[in-house]
């Protein structure tokens, strides 16, 4: 956090921008999928508008200018004057990319925005907004989006101030973009604007007079000035602000246009914009604007509005509760319909008390959230981790002291354990976030990758709401990005080739997230040509990665692409990068305690599967002993445990032990031997076997000396405290204070396998 309050506010703005841009893209994708929900269009409009508003306050001109053009088109779409068709949504999606670029540039985080691209999109957006002058007469809405019915106004009764037409134009604000053709706009029935400048407004060289003139450009205005709060001269600070203006604007300007006038001063004034003739919101607005000493005005308004409500009540049910006005007055956005005209007395059925909630029900209440410095959450998580360890140690001490589990202390300890667990789960939940934040960045990437390669690509995502720890999410983005690019660059064929192969010209890339046995699994699949195995093998031989005569299974050939320095692209393309191959992806996944696997069918496509722990903080594990060492095996990987019969153990080729297990043979891995705790491979008697399943679904039997029990352990990184050890995922501190290593099951099984690669295709002869 910066000490400079302005910088802090700006940082918050950019944080919000990130969320807004994510919402924006999400909603645009909803539109792309064929939705025509007006709420979605409104949400897009609001997101762009909010970005623009904030940007205006910080004087980020380029951003404001672009957002303005974007917003203008959105305004056309939400009013139904322009159709929200597929080409439009595609343009909007690209515009959202450029908007994100502008935000990044303004933040100083990204490269400068490509001016040609930006200008090109501005032109496209404007063409969609103003172009195709063909009238869309049918789309002329009868109501605006606030459900407000226009009230007929006698404009003739109003005489405009004589001097106004002579005022000089104000190019600065208006020059941001051409104002939309006012005649094309729906009649909104006019607006009531209550405006109270703060001293800051003047201090930052803005001027009420200019704002009033800008408003007058939108239509005939009546300006009322409230100077009741103005002190006598001695008490008047020349830079203080004491006046409140109420402007009634007639004509057909939209709310957006009205608010635009105040865009640059939004944070330096109190402002309310309500439809003319709408009593309830005005009361709310006045109440908000009114100072302590302006209570008369708000009381007056309250009286006025309750008078209207009483009239309505009398007209409908007569004896309705006097509480009724409250729900009507509360939401400013969705005012009750036409409070000016009482409902016809012939329709007594819908009592306002019943009707009001339907009319004014706010959209699903947004959950209340706070922003917390991540560091604080991390501290909390660390502390809870220590708490779990302490609790385990305490439990062990109690057991060692010979106290019965049913003793008071034993029972109290059990409660403590439950409570600890609950606290831990809750703390973890604080950091859990849906993978949406990562997935939402991908459509853009796919668009750009498709553009760069000239391929047609459709991205299908699923499971965006799958939650995973924030630290995992942050580190998911790069691997997914890389693999998606790979899928498009290397996996998918060009349109002609696809058509020739009898596939649709447009390739599909799927990105899915799901929870599977306590881990998060990310699948990236394409319907491309699959892995060209002869070529992969040829390259591996060429680069000296494998022996020329090596006999490899399909699976093993596929996995060659994860070898360091392996790249199948004949030419290094811009897209997939230079020299950064799948090995880097694999390493970054592994550093998260995750695994990556691939399956591929020639001509049908490839699927990459990432499997990651949900959190990097705790793990449910089985504590086992092997050659006097205490180890922890992740519970999620364990299928079952058993004591093997010697008769069930066979040796493949006389060397590699396998275990007969439910009428199948699984490789038997002597953990102590693989980990290097002991050299003697033959100590199989008296051991216990855990049947484990790797991420790729492969089963193996891990042989250990004893199983001590199941426990939740706090993960301590071995990499950051020591270094990476093959076969070890991390370490933990046990109840007795000793360090135990957490096994990396897949690595153990693979290590076992990789020692005998040339024999792996041998059929078992038992």
């Amino acid at each position: 956090m910066s000490d400079d309050p302005f910088e802090a506010i700006k940082a918050t703005f950019f944080q919000e921008c990130e969320e807004l841009l994510a919402d924006l893209e999400g909603n645009l994708l909803t539109l792309e999928s064929g939705s025509t929900d007006i709420e979605v269009i409104n949400a897009v409009f609001r997101a762009v508008h909010s970005v623009k508003g904030g940007a205006g306050a910080f004087g980020l001109e380029n951003l404001v200018r672009f957002a303005h053009v974007f917003e203008t088109l959105m305004d056309e779409l939400r009013s139904g004057r322009k159709p929200c068709d597929d080409p439009t949504v595609k343009t909007l999606l690209r515009a959202s990319d450029v908007l994100a670029d502008h935000v990044a540039a303004a933040r100083g985080a990204g490269a400068a925005v490509d001016p040609v691209r930006s200008a090109g999109l501005v032109a496209e957006l404007e063409a969609l907004t103003y172009g195709g002058a063909a009238p869309v007469a049918a789309a002329e809405p009868e109501e605006d989006d606030f459900g407000f019915t226009p009230v007929a106004m006698d404009l003739g009764a109003f005489d405009a101030p004589a001097g106004l037409p002579d005022l000089p134009p104000l190019p600065d604000l208006a020059a941001l973009a051409p104002l939309p053709d006012l005649s094309a706009l729906a009649a909104a029935g006019g607006w009531k604007v209550v405006f109270r400048p703060h001293p800051r407004l003047y201090a930052s060289a803005n001027e009420t007079g200019l704002l009033l003139r800008e408003l007058a450009r939108l239509g005939p205005t009546r300006v009322q000035m409230d100077d009741s709060g103005l002190p006598l001269l001695d008490a008047l600070e020349p830079t203080d602000s004491h006046l409140i203006w109420t402007i009634e604007l007639d004509g057909d300007a939209s709310e957006t246009e009205v608010r635009e006038v105040f865009d640059f001063v939004e944070m330096d004034c109190d402002l309310s914009v309500t439809p003319l003739g709408d009593a309830a919101p005005v009361e709310a607005a006045l109440a908000a604007v009114a100072d302590e000493d302006d209570s008369d005005a708000s009381a007056l308004a309250r009286a006025a509005s309750s008078e209207l409500d009483i009239a309505a009540l009398l007209a409908s049910v007569g004896a309705a509760s006097t509480e009724a006005p409250a729900p009507v007055a509360a939401p400013v956005i969705a005012p009750a319909p036409e409070p000016v005209a009482p409902p016809p007395p012939v329709k007594p059925a819908p009592a306002p008390t019943a009707a009001a909630p339907v009319q004014t029900a706010p959209p699903a209440a947004a959950p209340v959230t706070i922003r917390v410095d991540l560091e604080r959450v991390d501290r909390l998580i660390n502390a809870v981790g220590e708490l779990v360890i302490q609790q385990a140690m305490l439990a062990q001490r109690v057991t060692e002291s010979g106290l019965a589990r049913s003793s008071d202390i034993g029972l109290g300890l059990e409660d403590l354990e439950l409570l600890t667990r609950e606290i831990q789960d809750s703390v973890m939940a604080i950091r859990a976030q849906p993978v949406k934040s990562v997935f939402q960045r991908m459509p853009r990437l796919v668009r750009e990758a498709a553009e760069a390669t000239g391929k047609k690509v459709k991205l299908v995502t699923s499971g965006e709401d799958t939650e995973v720890d924030k630290t995992v999410i942050e580190r998911l983005s790069d691997p997914i990005t890389h693999m998606l690019r790979n899928a498009i660059d290397h996996g998918l064929e060009g349109p002609e080739e696809r058509l020739a192969a009898g596939k649709p010209a447009e390739g599909t890339v799927r990105l899915a997230a799901l929870h599977r046995s306590g881990r998060i699994v990310i699948e990236i699949s394409d319907d491309g040509k699959g892995i060209n195995r002869p070529r992969v093998k040829g390259i591996a031989v060429e680069r000296g990665l494998i022996a020329e005569d090596a006999i490899l299974s399909d699976d093993e050939i596929d996995n060659l692409i994860f070898l360091p320095g392996f790249s199948t692209a004949t030419e290094v393309s811009d897209l997939s990068g230079r020299g950064v191959g799948m090995d880097v992806v694999r390493r970054s996944i592994q550093s998260l305690g995750g695994r990556i696997s691939i399956s591929s069918v020639p001509g049908k496509g490839s699927t990459f599967t990432l499997s990651l722990p949900l959190t990097l903080a705790v793990l449910d594990g089985m504590v086992v002993g092997a050659a006097d060492q205490t180890l922890v095996a992740p519970l999620a990987a364990i299928v079952e445990s058993l004591t093997p019969n010697e008769a069930d153990i066979h040796y493949v080729g006389g060397v590699d032990p396998v275990l007969r297990f439910r009428e199948a043979f699984v490789p038997l891995v002597d953990v102590a031997q693989v980990m290097g705790f002991r050299d003697d491979p033959t100590v199989l008697k008296g051991g216990v076997v855990m049947i484990v399943e790797t991420e790729s679904g492969q089963r193996a039997a891990l042989l250990v000396d004893a199983i001590h029990g199941q426990r939740q352990v706090v993960i301590k990184s071995l990499e950051s405290n020591y270094r990476h050890v093959e076969g070890v995922a991390a370490a933990t501190i046990l109840g007795d204070g000793r360090v135990a290593l957490i096994l990396d099951i897949d690595a153990l099984v693979t290590a076992k396998r990789s020692r005998t690669p040339s024999r792996s295709d041998l059929q078992m002869a038992s």
Partner: protein, 93 residues
């Protein structure tokens, strides 16, 4: 005795502080505000002038605008301020 304050052409943020000084200096006597040079009137100076009108009224002294320029009149009314304050007192003179 009537003091005269000539209003500056540009009555914006920067003019507010000096204007208050000039107005206060003329307190306790009838005041004529010469608005002939005014080209631009901002919200802060508007406040000062409105407050001055009140203050002089409270003091029982006369405050009049003389030769209000067209710009002053126009902008005064665009603010929603009462033209009577400008012209009626002008007529008193």
């Amino acid at each position: 005795m009537t003091a005269t304050v000539v209003l500056a052409p540009v009555l914006d943020l920067r003019a507010a502080e000096p204007l208050k000084g000039e107005l206060l200096a003329a307190r306790g006597q009838a005041l004529a505000l010469d608005g002939s040079a005014v080209e631009r009137l901002g919200g802060l100076c508007l406040q000062l002038l409105l407050s001055a009108i009140r203050t002089w009224r409270a003091d029982g002294q006369a405050l009049t605008f003389v030769n209000a320029s067209e710009a002053l009149t126009t902008q005064w009314s665009a603010f929603g301020a009462s033209l009577a304050d400008l012209s009626a007192q002008d007529a008193l003179q």
